[in-house]
Symmetry: D2
Subunit: 480 residues, 4 copies
């Protein structure tokens, strides 16, 4: 929680396993540890004993999608891929839940995808004009049509040719009876790792936390532009393109990934702690205590406390039980709806000057509420400290910011934001500070990070989005 209490969403988590006696259960456990990447649907596909692929998918959390033992028990095969999904507007039906399973005369193929393609619309239009029929609104399906229309009998050759046609951010898992393929876009926008179980089975998944959960050891991060092939002869890495440039999404480090995951060698919790430390160096405030917004900002708050010497206090409590939102007849009750998620610990904050640490500001409305909550609980002042730069630009590679109208920082100056939020002061981590704090061991631009939502500097052409995206005039390139 947070990114201003889930105003911002990742689009997916993926998990695959090859040759494990408990493939479906393993995938279930792995997906459960990736549940933070998507909560609107889940599915698992296995290669069954007869060589055909079998699926089960459902809406909601993994525990909802797999609510009966037989739903998992029927998936008996030793190779599997799975997916947890965050659904963007208008695409909430069960038919959009992944993996997508395609039955062909020769063999079945299943796809699971994390990311967003930037040329999906134009590819789809071309394909439809050539007679293709799509079953979903999802851009994921484009890849299957491309593969199917390539000439030649070699599936991997057709897959590689197709991967070169799609643009944007993508981490794909492709399952057939013969192999499990994993492919990462040429910028490596989304994380993807390979690991192995003690029984020899290979795992490919979004984050290392899933490897830990299923008891696998880490082998390597998949590199930008790579295709991994896992089959009964082992695992093989090869580039499907040589035009690559690492631009891993910086929001993975700031907010999306789980604190116990490590991406390209950098542990998430420690990166956030360093963001908090750097923020304390850049923006010291007059406070008695540091309070982090649970849970995603606790690491940054701890860093701010360590660097500033202020005590790190449990001033906000998150209710661990999910709350329905349909009960909102009046403004007064709506506020109580928010109170269902967060509570202030009066005994801690009463009479105190509070340094409140959060990871981002999206709409600002929840920030305003949290500040008010602390003041009603008796805080003398609340200084809001954000462990990342202002979010001003859309993302086209897999985060659900497609326009800037709802982004507070795209529409207001920092003093305006501070006034609207009602904080006594408002501070953001600088872009340089962020890049330094993450400290990726890379010599690529921005040290291998994508920071486009902060500075509008996209590492790729925007293809289908180029026409509609108008770069805001207020954009200030920070790093040049």
């Amino acid at each position: 929680m947070s990114a201003e209490i889930k105003g911002l969403n990742e689009e997916c988590g993926i998990f695959g396993v090859w040759q494990d006696e408990h493939a479906a259960e393993r995938t279930y456990f792995g997906l459960h540890s990736l549940q933070h990447r998507g909560q609107e649907g889940a599915g698992i596909v296995t290669v069954q004993a007869n060589g055909r692929l079998l699926e089960h998918k459902g809406l909601g959390l993994l525990a909802d999608a797999f609510s009966k033992p037989e739903q998992l028990a029927q998936l008996t095969g030793p190779c599997a891929i799975g997916h947890v999904r965050y659904g963007t507007a208008g695409t909430h039906g069960i038919e959009n839940i992944q993996p997508f399973l395609f039955h062909f005369a020769q063999e079945d193929v299943a796809l699971a995808h994390n990311g967003n393609l930037t040329n999906a619309v134009s590819l789809r239009t071309e394909l439809e004009q050539d007679g293709a029929i799509f079953r979903t609104d999802s851009d994921t399906e484009v890849l299957m049509h491309l593969i199917q229309r390539q000439k030649g009998a070699d599936f991997k050759a057709r897959l590689k040719a197709s991967l070169r046609e799609i643009k944007g951010g993508f981490a794909y898992l492709v399952l057939t009876k013969n192999a499990l393929y994993a492919a990462l876009d040429p910028n490596g926008f989304r994380p993807l790792v390979v690991g192995r179980l003690d029984n020899g089975a290979y795992i490919v998944c979004s984050e290392t936390c899933a490897l830990d959960t299923v008891g696998a050891h880490f082998i390597r991060d998949v590199q930008p532009g790579e295709l991994i092939t896992i089959d009964d002869s082992g695992y093989h890495c090869e580039p499907f393109t040589t035009e690559t440039q690492l631009s891993i999404c910086s929001m993975e480090y700031i907010y999306f990934a789980r604190p116990d995951s490590t991406i390209y060698g950098v542990n998430i919790h420690q990166a956030r702690q360093r963001m908090g430390r750097r923020l304390a160096q850049e923006s010291p405030v007059d406070a008695d205590i540091v309070v982090g917004v649970p849970n995603s900002s606790l690491s940054a708050a701890s860093g701010y406390a360590l660097e500033s010497g202020l005590p790190d206090e449990l001033g906000l409590i998150k209710n661990q039980y999910s709350a329905r939102t349909f009960i909102q007849p009046t403004q007064e009750l709506r506020e109580q709806g928010v109170r269902m998620k967060l509570a202030a610990v009066k005994a801690v904050v009463a009479g105190k000057k509070v340094a409140l640490v959060d990871d981002s500001i999206v709409r600002g409305t929840t920030s305003n509420y949290i500040v008010r909550l602390l003041k009603e609980a008796g805080a003398k002042s609340v200084h809001l400290l954000i462990s990342s730069p202002p979010l001003k630009y859309p993302c086209f590679y897999g985060i659900d910011i497609e326009n800037t109208q709802e982004l507070m920082a795209a529409n207001y100056t920092i003093p305006e934001m501070c006034a609207k939020i009602g904080a006594d002061s408002l501070h953001f981590l600088s872009l340089e500070g962020l890049i330094d704090a993450i400290d990726l061991p890379s010599h690529e631009p921005n040290r291998g990070l994508c920071v486009a939502y902060f500075n509008g500097d996209y590492p790729t052409p925007l293809y289908d989005y180029a026409a509609t995206f108008k770069q805001p005039k207020t954009a200030t390139k920070v790093m040049q």
Copy 2:
């Protein structure tokens, strides 16, 4: 979570409101903030416009029990009581979900109960022999039969006479079209507070966190042996018995209550922090970092860190999404089931000597797992520090410890426990330390706390349980 990862359960949370336009929604919000007290069922009863009472109840979390808007929307009346329930073995049916609603010719009555009666079986036998027919297996229902068989037309008089007949731990809410009654047992084993909304409506509920969630201000803790009557003329307090002695359940402070709640003037988070400080004084260990078991032990861990000067680190991550447990075909997969709940942050604990703080040890099996998890993540040593004394005796007042066979501390010495758990050392807070740390402003025995599960010294006769409870020979009275 914790009390060794939910091996120990509270039996209920209750909430009532009188004369609020949004009574059912308010109760829903209040119950949501009390969800940690019971997750197996929930219900709400309102006094409808026609003077009759209407209910909706369901199994599971509040969000499951009220899964459709109309289920709440039909409860339109301005007075309500609600209940969240933890069900003990064999009583899981929908018919045991509270509140219990009774339709009589004259008027309807609803009951909601938190606690456990110690003479329910003998009262029930007497009542059945006299022709009573019970609808449930729950001891809650006994009160209604007692009320109904009292002579006289004055409901409150019959209620008071009945309250004097029941023994044990109880916080009862009783709703009629004329009044909302709240009654607390003569020892005040369970917490119960009164508050008020700005619109004048009165609230009675288990914890102050529910008052904060619904926007009510705190008025007072209900006192042992008190009956509170709330009706259209205001609220009235009176004793139904004068033989009282405060013995509030110390496990409320140690584990059950929410950190932002305050019971008899003592904030839970701060009490836990003091337990951690005292533990550091009593049991310093050779460690590099302090790690608390999330979430309930984070306060104690913070106290241990502050007192010891060691850094308080986020070494364990709790998965915030609930995990189904039906997928457990093999021992190996069963361990992964536990890994679904907790993960170690390798980057934090690798190479470190860890002071691991937890609130209690129940069976010890999960403690063993957590120690192993940390060591597999590279911890050099793990010292397990428990912020309460060893749990050795059953509770008869509302916690689900009815026998001691499963309690590790009732069956093993501390060195044996340490060996079984695999920790490098194991330390418990002393009983004196616990009582001092909670620091209740009371002159009653044990400063107003019930600590019977630690020392076998029950503050009341045990009635129906007296025959079966054999005090273990190893029991050592600590406080005398």
Copy 3:
């Protein structure tokens, strides 16, 4: 269907079996053949191996209430009772589905009931004033409270004493671990029969069709005022009262019972055929063909055709699939809702003078619709012939006619009815004709039939209903 397309409903069907290896399945099959007696809920209770009783109940048809194999499979005991229910207004909750199961310290007791008690309200008031707490709104439960409050340890003696206190129409099944009891009211208002399987197990149930379905042979009709006790020593009949007078509900013969059932020696199909024949004698009409309203009036139509010499034609088709009624936005679409149930066969009726035979007129609105349907299909004329007398008075013994406002015949003369219905002529069977046609081998008044809904002549005092029932001025006693 019919009784003017289900404007009239039976209240229940009951089935019990003692010592059959497949007791629950047998009860399921038996209840399925009694489904026409109640479609709003069903339940089965078995005596399990441990001597306790176990239940499963659900809303809707039997197939809905038992929608999962395990719901029936768990009911493993060799003795069972079951119930299918039609729910009167305001009592639709799951808590009113029978059998009712009561857990006592000594033993469990289950009750299933078909009928309506006429002194339930006054008995309930007395019992509540004496401290009883009822769990449902159902009058069924009264019997259990009476039993429980009788003195003495002999269950059968307490049951017999209690049966003498209740008034009205009732067929009760009472199941304990020691015996299955079946009791019929002193007038025998509702049918109840005993049978036996080839494996020696005894069956008690509402109609003989259930005996045939489960493969049992008929032993005898339970007689008015009898208590049957079935236990491991066999079956025993004894009167619980000697003040009896057979008054079996004539609507069982006219409409409720299944055509293949036989009650007190009279087969239902043949009784209806005789009603049709007698109607042809009493009311010949100028027609080309006879058309019965499917399915309940087909027997009477066949009798009318045989007697009149007119061809019996399939002029109306019933859609065998149930239709939801929630789709009724406009008057036009509402009529189509009715068309979902019945259709005219144009090729049969076009240009024909039709003798339309139905069993009763309740509200008359559906009769009007059916006449219109036939005329729109081209019928030259439609003569409506009802194989029973006009329904004018309420029933207090188990049919859901509790007031006469909705009964067309209680409010209009026959010519008025004919005009409103739009028929070319309208004829009812005479009361004498009905009694002769049923031809019960009895010397009791009305030859053992209750015909009170036709003539207002109730065979018992009305107790709780006496005050509110105002005998309509237009009442004409036919039989005196």
Copy 4:
């Protein structure tokens, strides 16, 4: 019911409406009257105000698929198509429920299909080799791919070209925002009619009973090889091929269609009555009464009775409530499962020689059961009279007889069948008798009927089925 108690199934019913304010409700009502054609799934698609198509589909009966008001209420557009489905083995998932809805960039298209294509497998293989991706296993989808791959912008031209490529039996509805198309295969194997509401809206549907139900008047039967286009300018008929030969499925007259429907000018009920009359001429038997197997054989039984002069009696009762079949632990209970559907009226059949009329024999096992049921009820003898010829050959045009192993008549002589069934004699209607009785006003072979399942004489090449279909040696061509 019957075709030996549903051993034989139709594959679908379809319904479409253009420009009706209540299009979805109308389709719901229409589909309800076509429910006998398919009970495993149902769906409706409407053209919404924005020009896009919206669907709702579900498993089970229409009332199950549309179990909540909003499921229908959301379908607000004025043009709709709907489908009820019988699913063949292995294709039971929700993804196979029709209509199939395809979203394209330019416009959406929905398809509903009744029938079976004989060249679907080869077309699909070709299409997949050319890059097509199918979403279902259904042959219905082939048409959409063919349309999509035709050149040219004119949808109707592409549709007509595609219709010429598919072979077998088909009645297709195709819905776009611009028009509703209805197409019938060149043999007219399946029925399809056009009608009109008083409000001017056009209807196309499988049977005239659906026109009657929704209040539409009949315009015409769609002719073999015709494409009907309904749009805002009216309705237009045109052939898509001139190579046509009427071969309407004779089983529609014998068993599938509803008695009140009329196909190519012949009313179903009357055709069946004529089959019964002809059967009486061909096969008089020594009987006291005629009994029809309810409900589908009642018309034929009535004809047999009229012609033979024997009384038509209600000797078998059908339970109108559906029975679950999962309760079948033993052979004894399995028989009771069948008894749940049918019961003999002992009072009618005891001591009688019975002429039992049924429409067909499929497996013969249920025939055997019915004969036994009558004999156990006391019938002196049972002569089984089948109102159609022996079923010996598979159907490839839309009935679920794809192999002959289960067809009793394909494997045994008539005397062998009679012995196995246990009847006193067994008689089938002759093929000539059947064709004469249906009496279609056509000069095509077999007077416009397909009778291939009786004589193996298929009116078209069998394409994909030609290789696997081995014509049985015992086949005797009747009509040559």
